[in-house]
């Protein structure tokens, strides 16, 4: 058995074990996506796994408890769980590239490394730039620690890996590249034990591994089955690679909603248009509605006395065509949490931040097939612009 075959056999064994009873129907572009508490107790998190290898070798490790996030781009792991050698990415000046990655609860500091990434039965994405969060030897620069709390461990995050499969290939893109306008300062160049903000070339930036697959690289299709109003202990769904590339990822008549350069669509809730996001990386529906009571326990979730059914209009950006009204229900979070479920359909909270957005977190995905089309990776009829598309039926 040669290296390639050994690797394929290992991956197939992991895949079959994880798919269990579904293995017979599995296609090579399907990863299981499971909503479960995970080792750190996570509500409404959709987890999958991947295999990463030292580039060009069969020295590999599994990344389990890998949170699927359609609101970010690229694979991130933690130094604490990294077991194999991954070569660093260097910039043209010979500095090691590191990143201060912005999330809302924290910034993630760590070096950029190369890995071969194996997902489902796909041939590998080679030399993918990934981030190793909290990697030793690269001190956190003051300009990064000034952006808020820092992410330092899987326990803090609630996951061991983050698989960002949103609508862009690179996490930052042209703004962070040399000569880009309005550099937001995510990337750093490290040498001699210190790191300074520096541009990073497009091909050196953390990259959505889906965009680097040799095939089925147009994006992903997230399918989660519908669950009851009280939630479910676990939910078994699928993360399917490619769009219009296999029999199981056809768009058909599903309407395409383009996003802007930030990955957001238009959403109208209570007669105001705001930025909308389809986001498996957030565990509730987040929007502002002062008429819904908050929970008395201080948890920050909505706690209506009786469930309330609301609607919002989602529309393509910037044209507003197509558009579609989507209905959703908000239930009393304190009552929901009396169960020991890990998945909840009717969990919601205020977005905060003024009236600036509507975050359709994981509850939106239950009972739907949601396509995430990567910018410049899709041909007609979807076209090159980044998009989301969705239809009923998970």
């Amino acid at each position: 058995m040669n290296r390639r075959n050994m690797l394929a056999a290992l991956l197939a064994a992991m895949f079959v074990a994880a798919m269990g009873a579904h293995a017979a129907q599995a296609q090579s572009n399907v990863l299981p996506m499971t909503v479960k508490p995970g080792p750190y107790g996570y509500t409404n998190g959709g987890f999958t796994f991947a295999l990463i290898c030292t580039p060009g070798t069969s020295t590999c490790q599994a990344i389990t408890v890998n949170l699927v996030d359609t609101g970010s781009f690229g694979l991130r792991i933690f130094a604490q769980t990294k077991q194999i050698y991954l070569p660093p990415e260097f910039n043209a000046a010979g500095g090691k590239i590191a990143e201060c990655t912005p999330f809302t609860s924290f910034s993630a500091w760590g070096g950029i490394k190369q890995a071969d990434v194996y997902m489902a039965g796909e041939p590998p994405a080679r030399n993918v730039p990934i981030q190793v969060i909290a990697s030793g030897g690269l001190p956190v620069p003051a300009s990064c620690s000034a952006t808020g709390p820092m992410l330092t461990s899987p326990q803090q995050a609630g996951f061991k890996g983050l698989l960002g499969v949103g609508v862009f290939a690179q996490d930052c893109g042209p703004s962070c590249a040399p000569g880009g306008s309005g550099n937001p300062g995510w990337y750093y160049s490290c040498s001699g034990g210190s790191c300074t903000q520096s541009a990073a070339g497009i091909k050196k930036q953390v990259t959505n591994p889906v965009a680097m697959l040799p095939q089925d690289n147009q994006g992903v299709l997230v399918q989660l089955p519908a669950i009851g109003s009280g939630g479910a202990p676990t939910v078994s769904g699928s993360l399917i690679f490619g769009i219009n590339s296999e029999s199981n990822n056809q768009l058909g008549s599903t309407k395409v909603f383009n996003t802007d350069g930030f990955g957001e669509i238009n959403t109208n809730f209570n007669n105001g248009w705001v930025a909308g996001l389809f986001d498996t990386g957030s565990n509730g529906l987040f929007f502002n509605d002062p008429s819904i009571p908050m929970c008395a326990d201080g948890s920050g979730w909505f706690c209506p006395t009786l469930p309330v059914t609301l609607s919002a209009i989602n529309a393509s950006k910037p044209t507003f065509v197509p558009s579609k009204t989507n209905y959703f229900t908000v239930d009393n979070a304190t009552d929901l949490f009396l169960s020991s479920n890990a998945a909840y359909n009717d969990l919601a909270a205020p977005l905060g931040t003024g009236t600036s957005g509507f975050d359709w977190g994981l509850p939106f995905f239950f009972g739907r097939s949601v396509y995430v089309g990567i910018y410049q990776m899709n041909a007609a009829p979807a076209g090159p612009m980044p998009f989301f598309a969705f239809r009923a039926g998970g």
Binding site: P149, F262, G281, L351
Partner: protein, 174 residues
């Protein structure tokens, strides 16, 4: 809101066409804001949350555009774009005290500078709050910090309820 939307589209075209959008953004700002544009170059102290407004320019170190002051009913909004191209707004009460800051962009501003004495309150309260990748709300002893957005469109605001001027609602902090 109109102002905010217009600004976003400035960035939209930047990302899609990779044009230099700074000039475009400045044009949009000029057209959208009916307010005196005051170039402030003096550094006279700090203007962090809870501090006096008189030295907003200190927070705008490395700013890509002049600080704009927009007087509104009950408060004044001071706008600038920081070194990470983040749009920052500082809200000052009639007594000159900054009671809120808000920001949006691909970058994250220097929150230790903008939140000033309240930064430690934020960081320690965040340690006990639920972790969120694209939405978080942290209620500290004195400050409330809310952040949201996908990784290319981060938005946030921080405000001190005890410093809010009478008659001003937190929903006016955009």
């Amino acid at each position: 809101m109109l102002f905010h939307s217009a600004l976003k589209y400035g960035y939209y075209f930047d990302r899609m066409k990779e044009e230099n959008s700074i000039a475009l953004i400045v044009r949009v700002m000029g057209a959208g804001v009916v307010a005196a544009v005051l170039a402030m170059t003096a550094s006279t102290g700090r203007a962090a949350l809870g501090q006096a407004e008189g030295s907003i320019a200190t927070d705008a170190i490395g700013a890509r555009a002049a600080v704009e002051m927009s007087p509104q009913a009950g408060f004044t909004v001071n706008r600038f774009t920081d070194a990470t191209s983040t749009n920052v707004r500082e809200y000052a009460a009639p007594n000159g005290i900054v009671f809120a800051v808000a920001w949006d962009g691909m970058g994250t501003p220097d929150l230790s500078r903008l939140l000033g004495a309240y930064y430690g309150d934020y960081v320690s309260a965040a340690a006990g709050a639920p972790a969120g990748l694209h939405r978080s709300r942290v209620v500290g002893q004195g400050v409330i910090v809310e952040r949201s957005g996908p990784m290319r469109a981060m938005r946030g605001r921080a405000y001190v309820p005890a410093l809010m001027p009478a008659g001003v609602d937190e929903s006016e902090i955009q």
